[in-house]
């Protein structure tokens, strides 16, 4: 720098020090970037306050549109209109479009949220009374009058039936499903592509058709009685492609470098799978299986065709008709008998609790372990879990290999 000033013949550029101006107005605090200023807040909130008032006026005073649904519809329309109107007063057409779109998108998401909340809340509101009775969990419906109150009878037979059938299905699908996934990813070859194509195609199988298949083959052709075993088989036929495909996608995300690192010091391929591939994918596999179970436990249609509905406790899956929670709910809801419908809601609440518990477990398992376990594995877990999330969400679909 000093050289340039000495050699240059022209006037050297000079630095001006800022001079403090005592008469300058006090500095204005800059607003946070992206946060709405007071005007914007007023437009956003004010529009909806105005909309509530307009909706009240229209539905309660001007037009004969009684009822909450009409109020909400008018509220939505007038809210969007007010937002547009208030924005036009200050902003341009572009801003109007932005605000209106924001209002519509948020309302759409709110509708979906309200629908979900109403579903869960409705089931628990109509079913919670049954849950207060201990005998609801411990007794079955043998010899209980359909009109009886909650003091007698319960759904123990349905709960145990659901668990037994699910256990049978899991014993079949877990080794076969994950084994197939290992075959498709680790063994490979032309034959594995055939298997993958067929498995992906079969995820499109509607669950009722899986039930009908087992009904036609196991019960009508082979002469088994309708039983918990048949129901478990039906659930297994339904779940097998789902779990196999989900596990396949999970295993495919395991980085090849890990496999190579294991194979290079001459570990056998089985050891590589058992000690490297499967442990790396463990959280993903667990999530896939648990969410598959959550679907299996709630699936009514295969059970409807294959298990029969006993109203007493059956623990032997080969013995004969065995009830399960979804089937119990279905029959109760169709019976038209108010007491039985209330019981069905109680059973639905139990089923929801089961599904919620499974769901929360799946979330916890899928979360990468909090403690620093092994530095190598941690960065790998995340993509695996993300992939499972993606797969499980579109479980009954086919995803072609990329």
């Amino acid at each position: 720098m000093s050289t340039s000033t000495t050699t240059s013949a022209t006037v050297a550029p000079r630095t001006h020090l800022p001079v403090r101006d005592d008469d300058a107005p006090p500095p204005v605090p800059r607003p946070a970037i992206g946060a709405p200023n007071a005007d914007e807040l007023f437009v956003r909130l004010g529009a909806w306050v105005a909309a509530v008032a307009i909706a009240w006026l229209i539905t309660q005073r001007f037009l004969p549109l009684a009822g909450v649904p009409w109020f909400l519809i008018v509220l939505f329309v007038s809210g969007v209109a007010m937002t547009a109107l208030l924005t036009t007063m200050t902003g341009t057409w572009v801003e109007v479009k932005d605000r209106v779109a924001g209002a519509v998108v948020t309302s759409g998401a709110l509708v979906v949220g309200a629908a979900l909340v109403s579903t869960v809340a409705f089931v628990f509101l109509r079913g919670w009374r049954a849950l207060l009775h201990a005998n609801f969990f411990l007794d079955d419906m043998a010899g209980v009058d359909p009109k009886a109150s909650f003091d007698t009878g319960g759904v123990a037979h349905a709960i145990s039936g659901s668990l037994i059938q699910l256990g049978i299905a899991l014993v079949i699908t877990l080794p076969l499903g994950i084994g197939t996934a290992v075959f498709m990813t680790e063994v490979g070859g032309r034959f594995s592509r055939v298997v993958r194509t067929v498995v992906e195609a079969m995820t499109a199988l509607p669950s009722i058709v899986a039930g009908l298949f087992v009904y036609a083959v196991l019960i009508l052709t082979l002469g088994f009685p309708p039983s918990g075993f048949a129901a478990g088989m039906a659930i297994a036929v339904m779940m097998l492609p789902i779990i196999a495909r989900a596990a396949d996608v999970v295993l495919r995300v395991v980085p090849g470098t890990l496999r190579e690192a294991s194979l290079a010091p001459s570990a056998s391929r089985w050891r590589t799978v058992w000690h490297v591939v499967l442990p790396t994918a463990r959280p993903g596999l667990a999530t896939a299986v648990i969410l598959g179970v959550a679907r299996g436990i709630g699936e009514t249609s295969p059970v409807l065709l294959t298990s029969g509905a006993a109203n007493f406790l059956v623990t032997n899956p080969f013995e004969g008709a065995m009830n399960s929670l979804p089937l119990y709910i279905y029959n109760g809801a169709r019976s038209g008998e108010p007491a039985l419908i209330d019981r069905a809601f109680g059973a639905a609440a139990v089923l929801m609790v089961l599904v919620l518990v499974l769901f929360v477990i799946a979330r916890l398992v899928a979360r990468p372990a909090g403690g620093n376990r092994r530095g190598l594995v941690r960065p790998v877990v995340r993509p695996v879990v993300r992939a499972v999330g993606a797969v499980v969400r579109k479980i009954p679909t086919s995803r072609s290999s990329s």
Binding site: E95, F191, A201, P206, V209, R363
Partner: protein, 337 residues
């Protein structure tokens, strides 16, 4: 110290090792065991498809090609046909998508574009939870909570838009002093509401995932040019996610076609090709199976299996198209692997 290896002149000539990709020893056992597992799963799952396909043969032989074109299902006089059933299935599924598509799109946009970053994972879990709620629970919700409201909506639609052919309800007078509720409930319209709830989370999850993969560079470029949030959505997010939107919708449609229990709970069966979606009475393939299987004779059972096969093929075609669209589009280019 380092010692150099001494070359032994008497040693035999070193030969290049033979390299073989054929597994040997334990690896061979491993490969073959898992090949057997894969083959058995192939037999089980493929067997279902083949079995269903084979079952359609006696049905078609017995009822002829009329099986596909007859609308009535009357086992008493041995007249079975699935035209009405298939039309009913498709109309319920399409109606469900009419509800589910805009809501799924809006929810996906809200989660990716509008929700604060802190609540985003929570919202994603909520959508997943919605997918995990058993269909029978949605059936209860649709039957006991929603059906009266939906019937009211049907009445309103009929009174104000009765001139639209779909909204016509036969044998009713919208202006009669007493509202005949029984003509408005148990319709395809009522059944499609819980089905929409079931397929919505799936469509939403696919769309959300695709939207979240929008390249940040393009998004920031739009923002830098002064685009509003909506401007970013229309110029970057939606064009990028078009494949995901179409694919997710079709996946939802595929699931809606096969939905059983909620439909069986709500509708009252009516075997005809019916375009009046608000009118009482409807049928779908899956609910037909659920209702009819117990009193079916062997030939009727094979007819039911044939109907199931038709449903399976329908679902398969829709799902395959969806997967192709999702994979062909730019969206999801680096989804995994």
């Amino acid at each position: 110290m380092t010692s150099l290896p001494l070359s032994d002149p008497g040693a035999p000539e070193a030969e290049p090792r033979r390299i073989s990709r054929r597994p040997s020893g334990g690896d061979a056992v491993f490969v073959n065991v898992f090949r057997v597992i894969g083959a058995s799963v192939l037999v089980i799952t493929g067997g279902v498809g083949v079995f269903l396909a084979v079952q359609t043969v006696p049905t078609l032989r017995h009822y002829g090609i009329d099986f596909l074109t007859t609308a009535r299902w009357e086992p008493e006089i041995d007249l079975l046909g699935i035209a009405g059933v298939v039309v009913g299935t498709i109309s319920i599924a399409v109606l469900a998508m009419v509800f589910a598509f805009p809501l799924a799109l809006l929810t996906a946009l809200f989660i990716t574009e509008y929700a604060p970053a802190r609540v985003k994972p929570f919202l994603v879990s909520l959508v997943d939870l919605m997918a995990a709620v058993p269909s029978i629970v949605y059936g209860l919700w649709g039957f006991f909570l929603m059906m009266p409201h939906v019937a009211e909506l049907s009445y309103w639609l009929q009174r104000n838009f009765g001139w639209v052919p779909f909204f016509e309800i036969r044998d009713t007078d919208p202006n009669s002093p007493v509202w005949d509720t029984t003509r408005y409930i148990a319709s395809s319209f009522c059944a499609s509401v819980p089905v929409a709830m079931m397929v919505l989370p799936m469509a939403c999850a696919v769309m959300r995932q695709v939207f979240s993969q929008t390249p940040p560079g393009e998004r920031e470029a739009a923002l830098a040019l002064g685009a509003t949030r909506w401007g970013v959505i229309t110029s970057v997010v939606l064009p990028f996610g078009r494949g995901g939107i179409i694919g997710g919708t079709m996946l939802g449609l595929g699931r809606a076609l096969g939905e059983t229990i909620a439909v069986a709970l709500i509708i009252s069966p009516a075997f005809e090709i019916k375009w009046n979606v608000l009118e009482v009475g409807a049928i779908s393939v899956s609910s037909l199976i659920a209702i009819q299987f117990s009193e079916a004779s062997p030939s009727q059972l094979s007819a039911l299996l044939a109907a199931g096969f038709v449903l399976f093929v329908l679902t398969l075609v829709v799902n395959t198209c969806a997967a192709m669209i999702v994979n062909r589009s730019r969206s999801g280019a680096d989804a995994d692997a």
